[in-house]
Every structure is written in C-alpha cells, then in structure tokens.
Assembly symmetry: D2
Homo-oligomer: 146 residues x 4
C-alpha cells in the first residue's frame, strides 16, 4: 500500500455546515481542491495556482463519515501516476483523526491558448516523482486515454 | 439507453465562478444536490428535504466542458436502481445546451435515530419506479454492498 | 419615496442554508451581488461583468426575516446617486413576498491598470439615469469622499 | 481608541476567490462569522454555536483592500456594547498585515421557541465585560431600539 507524504490541515468553517448539521458534500470537493493546490504549489514551486495549465477532469468521492463543526481536518494527498497528459491523485480526508472520505481525481494538463491537452512537462514528472519517492509511470493502460 | 425524465433548470451565480473564470468544480456538486433534492421532493411528495432519511455515500463526476457566467443550465436526473438500502442516481449537466458534466451518485437510506442504514421504504420504491416508468431493481450484484 | 424598477428573481439553493436551517447571512451578499450584476449588465449593455471597472467599497445590510429553502426570492435594485467616482445602490430582498433584508452599497469606478479610482464614465451616468427615470446627482455632500 | 483582544486566524481557500482574482465580497462575511463564533464560544464557554439564542440583525462592511490567495488572514474582534437584547461587535480584517476590511455588526438575542427577542443573559454580560476588560454599557441611546 502506498502511503501519503503530503498533508494539508484545514479548518471547518461555519459556512461549510449545511441544514443537516454536517459539512456539506460539495465542501469536501473544496477541501480536496485546497489540498491539491497546496500539493502542486509545494511540489512544482510555482507561485500562482491559477497560472498552472491544469483542468480537473474527474472526481470520485466516497463519503465515509460526517464532519462536524470544530473538528480538525487534514487532507492526505499523493500522486498515483502520470500519463501522457494526465495526472492521477488520491486523497484521504481525516476529521478528528477518523476517515471522513476517500477520493481519487484525474487532472489534465491543458494548453489554454491552444484549447487542447498538452503533455505533462518533463520537469513536473521529475519533481512529482521526487516528492513521492517512487516511479509515477501509469501502471496499466485502462482504455481511458487522456 | 435510458433517458432522463426529470429536469432542473439552474442559474449560474457570479459566486459560482472561480479565479479561472469558470464555474468552480465544487459548485457542480451543489448543482447536482439541487437537482437531487428537486427530484426527490417531486417524486416522494415530501415537504422538507432535510427530514428525508438519506445520506450521500458516493459521487463520480466527469467534467466535460467549462461553464461560463450567464449560461443557462439544466441538470437531467434519473434513478438508475434501488438496492436494499441504497439508491443510485445519474445526472447530465447541460450548459447552454452542451454537455458540461456527467455524474453518478449513490444515496443510502439512513435511520438517523438508530445511526444505521435502513431499508428503502416500499412506498419510495413504488413512487420512484412510477416516475421512471420502469423497473428499478438493481441490475447485477457488484460486490459493493450498501 | 423612490421605488425600484429592476427585479432579479433568484432561487434558494440547499447549499445556501446553514446549520440554523435558514439562508446563511453571507449568502444574502451573493444574492445582492447577483442582482447588482444583472442590473449593471442590463443598464450598461456590457457583455462581461468581470471586465467592468468596479470595486465594491461598502455594504450595509439589515436582516429583517429569515429565508427558508424553497421560498421564491426577488431582489429589487436601484441606483440612488452617482458621485465623481462612486455609485450608490440600494436593494430590497423579498422572500415569499415578505421583506427579508434591506441593503445599501457603494461601488467605486476603478482603473485596474492604474490602480486608482477613475471618474464614472459619462455614458454610464446617462444610461443609469435613463433606467431610473430621474436625476442621479448626489444629494448632499456627506463628508465621505469617494 | 479601544483595541482588540481577540484574534481569529483564517486561511484563504481557492474557493474564496472569484473571477476578479480576489476574495469575493460575500466571503468577507463568512470570515466575520467565523471570528464571531470563535469569540462567542471562547467567551461564553458554550459547546455548540448553533444552540446559542442569537440572530444577526445588521452588518456594515467597508472593503479597504483586496485579499489574494495565499495571504494569511486574521480577524480582530471585540464587543462594543451590550443593549437590552442586542450585542454590538466590531472587526478589523487583516490580510498579510494590511487592513483589508472594517466591519460592525449587531446581534440580537432571540428566543427561538417564543419567536421573539429576549434579554441578553446576565451571565453573558459578565463574561463579555470580563473578556473586554471594560464596561459594555451602551454608550448613548441612538433611536434604534433592538
């Protein structure tokens, strides 16, 4: 099992809570986004996230337990593999130490000027593999080409 | 192919847009939530959503195209199947007529007082099958028991 | 008393509701923002709001009644006066026909390139006075220079 | 001049940023809300905010400078005075050390069961005056009775 080397601590805001008294399901995606950004800014040493040539293509999110106001949160993040123009990440979201959600996402490196996907820069591959301390080659072709 | 019988029109708010100039990825989940609620309130003729014994257990979301401020949105929603204590729904999110996202979700019927899953009420099965105009039996066991 | 000529209908989303079961106070500001944008896009016939040289400088918001999920909302908007580089607007927020909030805001016309306030364009003064059907001269100097 | 004894540090999230590239104006209200809650939970030693008999009645917010992604934020909070059934607070919002906004708010102590305002509990008066280290009597009647 691959473990996580990157942790993003977060604080639940009152605005995150919905009428059920728990953190709303959509807010989990904002927590993941925040962790993804922290990870990439840390790993790629880029100054501004909104300049990165990236698009979120897919999210899978399994909700395991509700999160309550006041609970400390941390999001564990890792890169699973890097394809030609895609990066797969996964996350565990811990609230007060218990597992609140698991997620996997696929990002696509995207050339906004040409409006089409672009290869993941070699420099990124090197830096991300260095952060993870292992090869990030895509394990087995799965039929999904990105 | 199964089509969609339920449509929820939505309006993009300026607050939905992020620094990239598009509707933020987490807001797609709020659009789905709104459509899910409309569907269930319409189908189950319940007065208040937050009283329904339901938990969102899983979301899969494929982002197909960005959504811009001012584009009219509609979310197509259907129930795919009903398990013992779970309901699978899927969605297509259209923005200005083009496909912006596809999603599938699993809800669990949950007894909040006993803090455990409960069977989907027979009345719900009947009403949802009626809305969809077809059998909602779970197609083939998939190993995921909910 | 000056009445309102511009109405923005809005729909409460489940995400707007907080743990108290009402629309969260911050969401009122998003409703006002949406109405302000609709007003300005309608009046100024501009294609994209985020290109307008405007900054929100001040908001006063009086909460009169809670807003519940499912209630139809409309925001009434008018321009009260136009100063050298400021525009004062006011709003009434109606939920299910009752007054839920009153607000007044001040916008500053701002030259982002030069990073300083700029005079309200003459064309805007003309168009806004036309929409309101009255003079929009600032009534009496109040000591606040913007 | 009265200074601030209570500080709430906050982290800007990517979701807080809007199409202009700054923290959206409505999010400032969520920052204030978070600070207000921290203050009250700290001062009143209450376990759960949503149980407190309080309603936000009024907000005045002056936006002084934009807040950018990544800037550390702190919200300074104090109680200005306590009326019969109202509590006036004020805030300064600092981003990267500079003043980003000033705000004043009025809360009303509200008996949800009877659906009407209730007197501020004596215990609250004592605790809040203790936190502030000064008398919190309302300075001069202003014609606004709450």
């Amino acid at each position: 099992m691959t473990d996580f080397r990157h942790r993003t601590p977060l604080e639940v805001r009152f605005r995150d809570i919905d009428a059920f008294g728990h953190v709303n399901n959509a807010v989990f995606s904002s927590y993941l986004e925040q962790a993804r950004i922290r990870y990439l800014l840390d790993a790629l040493e880029q100054p501004r996230f909104e300049r990165l040539p990236l698009i979120l293509a897919r999210v899978e999110l399994d909700y395991r337990a509700p999160i309550l106001f006041g609970e400390p949160i941390e999001v564990l993040t890792r890169v699973d593999w890097i394809g030609r123009s895609s990066i797969a990440m996964s996350h565990e979201l811990l609230a007060a130490g218990h597992l609140a959600a698991q997620a996997s996402t696929v990002l696509v490196t995207y050339d906004y000027d040409r409006a089409k996907p672009m290869p993941v820069p070699d420099d990124w591959r090197r830096r991300l593999a260095q952060v993870e301390g292992r090869s990030l080659e895509r394990p087995v072709p799965t039929g999904v080409t990105t």
